[in-house]
Every structure is written in structure tokens, then in C-alpha cells.
């Protein structure tokens, strides 16, 4: 007989795995750096957190650690992807030609050349 928490954990891990796979798929299929970053951060962060919590639920002794892992993933992943996107934009990586909006450019214009829109 499998305990109920283990089933919940398994389901969470399966969901996480699904998002990981989708993220990896997006990393290959999407057209440019910025789109790929979407896949690499949003869906993979969600997937990783889901797996971490799933492990914690299935094995309750690991729950505190899993929560800490999830917290730091949530803290660091967006910051770093923000940094990467900004660095890519600043060093002149072009947008995909099908992109419809470039708000960062407008913000740069508003704050003057070389300045930093906060």
C-alpha cells in the first residue's frame, strides 16, 4: 500500500518533469535568445520547484530542505535570467524578426542614451 503523501509527491514530480521537458523542448524550438530564455526560466523554474516540493511531500524528512531549495530557486532564477536578457540586449543580440514589441528600447529612449531605466 502506497501512502497518500507518496502519491501526491509522485504527481508533483511528474508535473515538474513535464514542465522540464517542455522547457528543454522550447530551448531548442524557439527562435531567438529572448524567447528561449522564457522557456529556460519560466517553465524550468516551475518544473524544478515542483520536483523539489514533490520530493519533500513524498519523503517528509526532506521537506524543510526541499522548501529551502524551492525558495532559492525562486529567488535566483529570475534574477539571473533578467541579467542574461539584459546583457544580450546590451551587447546587440537582435530580436526575432517576428517580435511585435520592444519595450526596453522605448524605456532606454525615455531615460536618455546610455542611461539605465530603473
Amino acid at each position: 500500500m502506497i501512502a497518500i503523501n507518496e502519491i501526491i509527491g509522485m504527481v508533483l514530480m511528474a508535473i515538474g518533469l513535464l514542465f522540464q521537458v517542455l522547457g528543454a523542448f522550447g530551448l531548442i524550438r524557439l527562435p531567438d535568445v529572448y524567447n528561449r530564455l522564457q522557456a529556460a526560466t519560466k517553465s524550468i523554474t516551475l518544473g524544478a520547484i515542483s520536483i523539489a516540493i514533490g520530493v519533500g511531500v513524498a519523503e517528509p524528512t526532506l521537506l524543510p530542505k526541499a522548501l529551502i531549495v524551492a525558495f532559492f530557486l525562486l529567488l535566483t532564477n529570475p534574477i539571473i535570467s533578467h541579467g542574461i536578457a539584459r546583457a544580450a540586449y546590451r551587447s546587440g543580440v537582435p530580436l526575432w524578426k517576428g517580435s511585435v514589441i520592444d519595450q526596453y528600447e522605448k524605456a532606454l529612449e525615455r531615460s536618455g542614451k546610455g542611461g539605465d531605466p530603473q
Partner: protein
Amino acid sequence: MMERSTIQRSLPALAISILIAGTLFLAFVEIGFGENKVDSEDAVANRYIANGTTETGSSNLVTSVVVNYRGFDTLGEVTVLFLAATGVGAMINLLPEDGKKRSKGPKPSLIMTQGGMLAIPVIALFGTYVFLHGHLSPGGGFQGGVIIATAFLLYLIAKPDAKTSHRTLSLSESLAGLSFIGIGLIGLAVSGIFLDNVIEGFGVLGELVSGGLLPLIYIAIGIKVGSEMSGLVEKMRGDAS
């Protein structure tokens, strides 16, 4: 469409790689996977598993192998890292100018600076924890050192203009390396054996203060690896600015 010369090169390369990998694969299948070889008296690992905790006082058996049974390897490993750091620094100095002017990039954004500053102390603390508990939990000097160096890297990303002291880095690197060898020489002086764990019976198994000289060596390694990796990062920044 591949060029003709690419194909000409690829096919022999494919043949050679399949030959080597295939031979190794068949040989490893012959050895077997997951079979229990460590229980036989002939295996060296048998002694590590059966007596490792009592002989070295460390509950992490990998640590007892790395620092005690095969400590000489670890000294070589630290040396490899030292050579790589020195060598990369020297080679970066040797690099020819590429004629490009590098302008200073824009300041990092608020998110980057604040988020980085939030994470750095936690990361540094965690790195210290990892190398202090190398004899109790997974991890050790190398891992802890690398974690500390990531904190340093994050600091440089968050504040690219920050001044770092090259002097302090190379001083701590040298002193940590010398203290590693010094601990080894204590063994040579006391019992005539280099890197002998002369106070191994000290402390209670599983507590922080245990394992004799083992945690001391891992602290030295942690500081050395941390400052070496930080130095590596710093040298690479020196090239880019």
C-alpha cells in the same frame, strides 16, 4: 550539404571513435555493473567500508578516502588547481591585443545588485558550512571552495566596479597550500609518514569535532580552492576591462 573534405574527415573519425568506445563498452560489460565486489577480502575498498569510520574518525567515507587513505592524491589535485590558476593568469597576460576597444558596459540594474547582495552572504555561509562539515555530510573542501567562489563571482557581476585585493587572494591561497603541506610534514616529523593522521582518535564519531587532522586539512583545502577559483574569476575580469 557537407563539404567533401568534411565527409572525408568525418568517416574515419567515426570509425575510430566507435572502435574505441565499442571496445571499452564490451570490456566494461565483461566487468559487470552493480555487482558486489567490495565484500571480498581482496578489494581495497573492503577496508575503507569496514574500518573507515574507526580508523579515520570520519563518517563520510569519501572524505576519509580523499583526505586520509589517499591524501597524497589530494595534494596533487590541489597542485593541479594551483597550476591552472597560475597558468591561466600568466596566459591571460600573454594574450595579444585584439585591437578592439572595450567600452565600459552600463551599470548592472537594480534587480541584479539587490538580488545579488541578498544572495551573497547566504551562499558564502553555505560554502563555509559545506567545507566545515566535510567529514560528516556530503561535500568537503573542494565543493565548499567552489561555492564560496560563486559568491565572489556573483559579487563581481552585481558590482563590476568593485575593487578586489589581488594581494589578499594570492596570500590566502599560498598560506592555505603551505598549511596543507605543513600538516603533512607534521606527520612526517612525528611518525615518519607523510600526511599521517597523527591525532585520529580525537573526538566522537559523527560530531563536528572529530576526525583528527581531517577537518583541518579540509578547511585548508576549502580556503585554497575558494581563493584560487576567485582569483581565476578576477584574472578573467582583468582581461575584459
